[in-house]
Subunit: 116 residues, 2 copies
DNA sequence: ACGCACTTTCGACGGATGTCGAACATCGCA
DNA sequence: TGCGATGTTCGACATCCGTCGAAAGTGCGT
C-alpha cells in the first residue's frame, strides 16, 4: 500500500486557550520534566535524545508526552527525530509571567548547585 | 498525670530556606488545595472547617497537611480549632513573585466563571 | 459530668504516576 | 536490501495520591 506523506499520527497539542493551569503545574512538579523545560528555555528547539537526563528512553518519551499534552512544549517531527520547543508565546498569553517566575524559582531552589 | 501546656504534637513546618519548589508546585496542582490558597490570599487566617470545599473532613485534613509540609501555609492551634494562614513572606523571599503569578494564572484559568 | 463540635489519625481502596524492558516503527546510509 | 539510530507503544510493577468512613482526642458549653 502507498505510503502517505503523513503516516504517523498527529501529535496532540492543546489549543492555547485550553491550556490548564493544574496540568501545567503538575507537569512542572517533576524534576526530570523541569530539567527539560529549563534547558529548552535557552534554546529554540532540541531533539529528544539530546537531553542530559538519566532515564530510560521510554521514560523520557513519557515525560515529553506529559509536557506536550499539558501545553508546555510543542513537538515537531523531522525524519526520525522529534524536536521539542517551549510554547513560550502561548504560555505567556495564557498565564503571563508564569514560566519566567517558575524558572527563576527553580534557580533559587537548586541554589548555587547545578547552575544553568 | 499533669497535663502540660503543650500536649499536642508540634505542627511540622519547613524552614523558609528549606521550602522545596517541587513540593510547592505539587501542592498547588490540586484544585481543592488551590482553592484553599486562593481564599487564604485575601484573609489573614481562617479556621479549617470554614472553607467552602466539598470533601470529607479527613480529606480536608490531608490537604492541609500537604500544604503545611510543603511550606505554603502555617497552622496555629487555638482551643480545638486550627487556623491556617498563607506563608506569604516566606514564600516571597524564597520564590519571589511565584504566589502572585500562580494566583493570577488561576484567575485566568477559571476564566469569567467562579471568580474570587 | 456529659455530650457536642472541630480535627486528626488510621486503614482501606481505586486510580494515577514514574519507571523499566521488550518489541515495533521510521528513516538514513552503506 | 539490510542495518543502525532515534523514538514510541505496550505491558508490568511498585509507589504515591486523593478519597472516604470509623475511631479517637481535645475543649467548650450545658
Amino acid at each position: 500500500m502507498p505510503r502517505s506523506t503523513r503516516r504517523r499520527p498527529e501529535l496532540s497539542h492543546p489549543a492555547p486557550e485550553e491550556i490548564d493551569l493544574y496540568d501545567v503545574l503538575h507537569a512542572l512538579s517533576d524534576p526530570t520534566r523541569m530539567t527539560i523545560v529549563r534547558i529548552l528555555r535557552s534554546e529554540p528547539e532540541r531533539a529528544c535524545g539530546t537531553f542530559p537526563v538519566d532515564v530510560a528512553p521510554s521514560t523520557l518519551s513519557h515525560h515529553f508526552k506529559v509536557l506536550r499534552e499539558s501545553g508546555v512544549i510543542t513537538q515537531r517531527e523531522e525524519a526520525n527525530r522529534r524536536f521539542s520547543a517551549l510554547r513560550v508565546v502561548d504560555l505567556e498569553r495564557r498565564f503571563p509571567g508564569l514560566l519566567d517566575t517558575v524558572l527563576a524559582a527553580l534557580a533559587r531552589n537548586d541554589g548555587a548547585a547545578q547552575g544553568a
